[in-house]
Assembly symmetry: D2
Homo-oligomer: 326 residues x 4
Amino acid sequence: MMIKAGIIGGAGYTAGELIRLLIHHKEVKIDFVFSTSNSGNPISAIHQDLVGSIDQKFTDTINTNIDVLFLCLGHGNSGKFLAEHQFSDTTKIIDLSNEFRLVNDKVFQGNEYVYGLPEINKEEIKGANYIANPGCFATAIQLAIAPLASKKLITNNIHVNAVTGATGAGTSLSKTTHFTWRDNNFSYYKPFTHQHLGEIYQTIEKFQSESKHQVLFLPNRGNFSRGIFATVYTEFSGSAKEAIKIYKEFYKDAAFTFVADQTLHLKQVVNTNKCLVHVHKHENQLLITSCIDNLLKGASGQAVQNMNLMFGFEETEGLQLKANFF
Amino acid sequence: MMIKAGIIGGAGYTAGELIRLLIHHKEVKIDFVFSTSNSGNPISAIHQDLVGSIDQKFTDTINTNIDVLFLCLGHGNSGKFLAEHQFSDTTKIIDLSNEFRLVNDKVFQGNEYVYGLPEINKEEIKGANYIANPGCFATAIQLAIAPLASKKLITNNIHVNAVTGATGAGTSLSKTTHFTWRDNNFSYYKPFTHQHLGEIYQTIEKFQSESKHQVLFLPNRGNFSRGIFATVYTEFSGSAKEAIKIYKEFYKDAAFTFVADQTLHLKQVVNTNKCLVHVHKHENQLLITSCIDNLLKGASGQAVQNMNLMFGFEETEGLQLKANFF
Amino acid sequence: MMIKAGIIGGAGYTAGELIRLLIHHKEVKIDFVFSTSNSGNPISAIHQDLVGSIDQKFTDTINTNIDVLFLCLGHGNSGKFLAEHQFSDTTKIIDLSNEFRLVNDKVFQGNEYVYGLPEINKEEIKGANYIANPGCFATAIQLAIAPLASKKLITNNIHVNAVTGATGAGTSLSKTTHFTWRDNNFSYYKPFTHQHLGEIYQTIEKFQSESKHQVLFLPNRGNFSRGIFATVYTEFSGSAKEAIKIYKEFYKDAAFTFVADQTLHLKQVVNTNKCLVHVHKHENQLLITSCIDNLLKGASGQAVQNMNLMFGFEETEGLQLKANFF
Amino acid sequence: MMIKAGIIGGAGYTAGELIRLLIHHKEVKIDFVFSTSNSGNPISAIHQDLVGSIDQKFTDTINTNIDVLFLCLGHGNSGKFLAEHQFSDTTKIIDLSNEFRLVNDKVFQGNEYVYGLPEINKEEIKGANYIANPGCFATAIQLAIAPLASKKLITNNIHVNAVTGATGAGTSLSKTTHFTWRDNNFSYYKPFTHQHLGEIYQTIEKFQSESKHQVLFLPNRGNFSRGIFATVYTEFSGSAKEAIKIYKEFYKDAAFTFVADQTLHLKQVVNTNKCLVHVHKHENQLLITSCIDNLLKGASGQAVQNMNLMFGFEETEGLQLKANFF
């Protein structure tokens, strides 16, 4: 018997991706896709690749008896929405916003939101009813740093340069997502102050609580639509071989995170739920590269992965995706 | 029990796509991927999105007892390869080149190759052991024209303007696939003389043998990697409503071809096996738009669709793909 | 002594291009750039490539005693603006909108606007005080058709397929200019009904008034920022050689329009004021390709060319631009 | 009277850019463009934007009596070429390769090659007969670091992350310049070991010889054709205001390098000879951004700038270029 899923904020990027994933998930039936602005319109009129794949319409009414609820609202709106809508006690909730990710924010309405990064938190996720789904940059960067921190090997500042695609900025129109600005362009934003740093520090502290080193993170805007490519380096006294062993060991049971032997490029992961990680040593610097699709492993794919774990489904169900690659 | 598949010409675009599809196909096991130049290398060293997804290596030895053989060789090399390698009588063959597509070429080594366009040839494909898989432009254009021809409504020349991505030109390096040439550029090639016209005329004649009208086809090079967007117009004396009815009727049982109500754009189909078709009438012109992913519905996806039909699998098995969309 | 120029609508694409051109024009001084919304801001804060090149600010006050006024307003706003602002009798006006282009619209406030396509109207432009600057698609398509029409050789319908970049849609944000939509995408709009058809028919009639043939024009949206690539074909009974001779003769004195011997691609003209034209014959079809930069030869560059002619400057002054090419 | 220029290696990117610049330079006449492989072909058959702009052909004969010679050969071939061809004593030479840039390499055939970065070396360049034109990454990065070093304020390691377009890799075809690889992709190469580090350290030492700090430089491949965007950070104890003052002072007389008040994006400089620099302070880190067009300020534009200085022309002559911007 299939579980019933509801999606809130149905017209955005992450909701679209969730729908694309769930229509082929063999354990899940989409019960409703909530969007007040699009209520009554076919879902395929907005998510137009779904012509021929889904006949449902957006709705402005909510079934509070669903098995799983995905909150795909803008940052700051999840708590507000939950305050206004009472769901069944048995409804599990996966929130894609940043509202419940930090330890200080994780209890809401008496419910504890577990940080949903399966590579570092799988057992907790399996037992959870409420998930705070990680941020996209936060996912890529944590997966680059966590193995090192897990061995308490952060001994100096960590330098992070990462670039994200235009879907990272949401569907709303803005100067820097206008095609004539973005096409063949490159820039940075929020230097050293990106809001995902909180999640990243929290994970470092989880493994190496005594670390007081800085993460110097420079986020960039790339002229592509999907994906995050992160380069991370810090001092490391061991050999390349030792480092690679640590990373391979850390991810040996991971369903979607793999340590690649060759240098990475972004399109290896676009339109998949994978995170690929590569480790390189030069003199005393360890350079770790990681790349993900920001909308999948960085958002909706990871949300489905968390759902799979919470409901005891195969972790990879619905997520064996064909890469776009070209 | 899974059938065993072999792939010849394993390092190219279409072979890569086949591998991406078959590793998640529940009825098929990839027995070998043949590539003399890459023999011994991991498949994922060339098709690099497959890191973590496949451990097999390219091979230069061939198992002649497989159930299905996919020929992904350059045009002109399939016959030569088959002349040099003898497969089991029970091995079904799907050739992705243009060698056996035309009526005059369809018998080779005593075997008859069925033209593998399921929308017009499904029953023959189900009974076939040998398939000539259609060309990419030919697929998009035929699917735009066939419904009209099926009603013998081609009454004048047909004007076709279509644009393809850089994967349409194959993996070999050339001036017009160099990034600095192609990026933000546009051009045409082979005006009115593209090699796919033969297949297109053959299908028109199949339905409306008396038609002597020309297909004036202008192929263009677009600055994207995947996809074909084709606009096709010709005179039509009926109403828009009548035309749409003809198209919806023609495709009512199609597994992957759908008539869209809204104007199309290419990314609705990229990384899927779909063909979307749209019909519009202006004065006496009927404008039909069709779009496909040239590597999927235009090549490897259609090859798998044909395989599914030949072996009695679900027609959509392994082809329920998540669109890239962004 | 330099002439004084004023620019109205200063924050848009065409105003930006005008400023980029005029700051290096040796006969012109920019007197003011009018923009109510940006009044007081540095011009280089909006047209950001001009950091280091211009110190002027946008203004909301107008000097009515300038020598030349460029109207870069949205379509429909030029007449309204002129009704509200009285300029000196000696101020020449170049309007970049579509308001005064057609014969029926060309007299406004008692002034006659000359259609500013130098290749067909040079002498009239030289004597004009008011110019209606042609549309971008209209420029590319007319320059492909005019030589043929000039010999009264339009004998059948004309099929036009042309693709424009995202700057063609103006600076305002819209779904189809959002990067995540446009990137690697392709689509068409306004099939057979584009508003530039009026100008195109007007020019055909100028040369071959008895022609009653249709121009079937399909405009497309390409995933690039600048440029128009137009393919135009119609029946032609002469030889390729004869056609080429007609075109070379027609453009032998043109300052910016050249007949190319090789097949064209868009980037040959991007960031220049050129129009390149190529002529090819296949069976009974004559295929003419033309390409321009929509913001230069299709808008601001042609406006400066017109200004040069009106004031007796060198026709190419300020327009010897380095192509971007890559 | 115009000087006569010769260009060696005429079919490549940098030679093409030089030709584009010199045809509009009022003090220079292109005497010959040498290319053995293209000898006899029109220059506009290779540099195809020049149709209508230049009638000259490539040649395989050399006039050794020219005033200035530009060497646009692949790295390692300049010395070889000069050993085989004897030019007049009065011929000034500008070499665009990396062969004579370092102090240890700067004397060749008894001639001393001056490092041609005008912002730090203008007086020497004015008196030079032989110029080693800087590397593209080296130009962007030095212009970000030099003001700080000039005040001996390098107090810690310098972290550099920079991204270059596909023209940075030269015209030869390669996997990573194939459109289907590069489009919408991102990757890095030569981490911490790029060959331009030598030039960068040399310039730091010139100003602050005692500095023993590392430049940790990660070069990236972006999916655009032109441009370099470099972010550079290091510890700085002063205020943002102090830093900005240092930079503005350092560049107050620079012809093409400007300190921008707003955050930068790459397209501000594409198709210009500018370098824009921006300075930002966060906690104890000073973040300096610089961007250039790799083929202009990073190669051919700077070569013309050096020529202007060597011959006493206006420094900006021929280099007042219209940005592409969109």
